[in-house]
């Protein structure tokens, strides 16, 4: 700041960035139904089959520009870099090679020759692999393409094969249209900004319960949760958590949210807090089979059946299955001789009939 007194520091505003990207994707979706946002600032658009509707590729690109001009100022749209090629990798390399306002168009016939002159840094593989390739003296994708596939697999495993397929233009990875389930959101406004962690934790629980109770959530487990806040004196804060298994109760959702919040807390007091479910999985009825309740009705940790007691929901489910089909069709994996040198002697399936 001392060196540059006129410097203005802007607070990050992730909620605003998300809104802008959402608006951009919505706007482009008017032109093509196949839109795949990759990360903030990078969007892939599938244009296959749209020639008769919009004309040749330059006119298709112009149409994208026009739709973006409806929501963004002209200088921002003019700064975009646009590339068009078969497959996402080719299009991304083309966009990286273009300059603002001058789209780079590569046809399918030109793709191998176009890629051959580009740097191997463009490869979407582990940076350690591109680092090793550079140390071996390889600079361009064309040099990489001169190697045999088996040699690259031997050196780099499956990523070596992928790298060769991309470098030669043999892999045309299609644009996957995003599946966008309608998010479920619950918001809580505080009368005065709050900064105490305990109060925020209590609010998270209330918000999770409210969001879980929404009719739109029924029958689905929650996989992706966003916790966000509008901060005192402007700006916003948010964290995302992806759960390993779909959850249908507040506790398994609140734990990772609080853990992540302790690492990345809100920088200032919070004026309003929201919880948003943005990714869903199958319903959690199967998990409920392994719920154990103690005498006070509280849940106990763990889903293992080796403790001796069989959870009541599971016992009931097996009884119903036996009633329907006459026997228990469930099995459990048991250890026979887990350290045996002979692989088929280590584990077995045993009928499960509690």
């Amino acid at each position: 700041m001392g060196l540059c007194p006129t410097l203005t520091l802007l607070e990050p505003d992730p909620a605003h960035y998300d809104t802008v990207v959402h608006e951009m994707v919505e706007s482009i979706s008017d032109t093509s139904p196949v839109v795949e946002p990759a990360e903030h600032g990078r969007v892939f658009v599938g244009m296959d089959g749209l020639e008769r509707l919009y004309g040749p590729p330059p006119r298709q690109i112009r149409r994208i520009y026009t739709s973006l001009l409806r929501i963004f100022p002209r200088p921002l749209v003019a700064a975009l870099r646009v590339g068009m090629a078969p497959g996402k990798f080719g299009a991304w390399v083309a966009a990286a090679s273009s300059s603002p306002g001058r789209p780079c168009l590569v046809s399918e016939e030109e793709l191998p020759a176009f890629l051959a002159t580009r740097s191997i840094s463009a490869l979407p593989v582990d940076p350690l692999i591109t680092g090793r390739l550079k140390r071996l003296g390889l600079e361009t994708l064309g040099e990489l393409a001169s190697f045999r596939e088996s040699d690259l697999i031997r050196q780099f495993g499956l990523q070596g094969r992928d790298a060769l397929a991309w470098a030669t233009g043999a892999r045309i990875d299609p644009v996957h249209p995003r599946y966008r389930p309608r998010p479920i959101r619950a918001t809580l406004d505080f009368p005065v900004p709050i900064g105490q962690t305990e109060t925020i934790h209590g609010a998270i629980h209330r918000l999770l319960e409210r969001a879980l109770a929404r009719p739109a959530r029924r029958g689905r487990g929650v996989l992706g949760i966003r916790l966000g806040a509008h901060l005192e004196e402007g700006g916003s804060w948010q964290i995302d958590v992806i759960l390993k298994d779909p959850a249908g109760t507040p506790d398994p959702m609140a734990r990772p949210l609080k853990a992540k919040m302790s690492i990345q807390p809100p920088p200032r007091a919070v004026e309003s807090l929201f919880v948003e479910f943005f990714r869903f999985g199958p319903g959690t009825a199967q998990e409920a089979l392994f719920d154990r309740k103690d005498q006070n009705g509280r849940g106990q940790e763990g889903r293992t059946l080796t403790g001796g007691s069989i959870p009541d929901p599971l016992r009931t489910a097996v009884r119903e299955l036996k009633l329907r089909i006459g026997y228990s069709p469930l099995y459990r994996v048991v250890e026979l001789d887990p350290w045996s040198r002979i692989p088929e002697r280590r584990h077995a399936l045993m009928s499960f009939d509690p």
Binding site: S150, Y327, P329, P343, E344, L349, S351
Partner: protein
């Protein structure tokens, strides 16, 4: 008191067969026979997998098991190979039967 009848109709004897199977202990990871093409030194060069011939790119690991010589001897030469598709496969040569099998190890 009679036991409740199953609600779904099924072929005669099917229920007994499934019940009997359910009572058995089913071992996991049983070896599966596989056709293997070898070179003159007996090293695998190609496998027949699901009706397709897969070339062996290279052998990654090799070990041997000799056990139970006091009853039915078990003698196997295991190989972990990389196929031309990049897939990693474990197979063994049963040195008693002189036959190849696929098995996760």
């Amino acid at each position: 008191m009679t036991s409740p009848q199953p609600l779904l109709a099924e072929a005669p004897g099917a229920r007994e067969r499934r019940e009997s199977r359910a009572r058995q202990l089913l071992t996991l990871n049983q070896p599966r026979p596989v056709r293997v093409v070898t070179d003159p030194l007996g090293r695998p060069t190609a496998l027949h997998l699901r009706g397709r011939v897969r070339r062996v790119d290279h052998i990654r690991e090799e070990w041997r098991i000799d056990d139970e010589w006091w009853r039915t001897p078990i003698s196997r030469k295991y190989l972990r190979v990389v196929l031309d598709s990049g897939r990693l496969v474990t197979l063994y040569l049963d040195l008693e039967e002189k036959r190849w099998y696929l098995q996760d190890a």
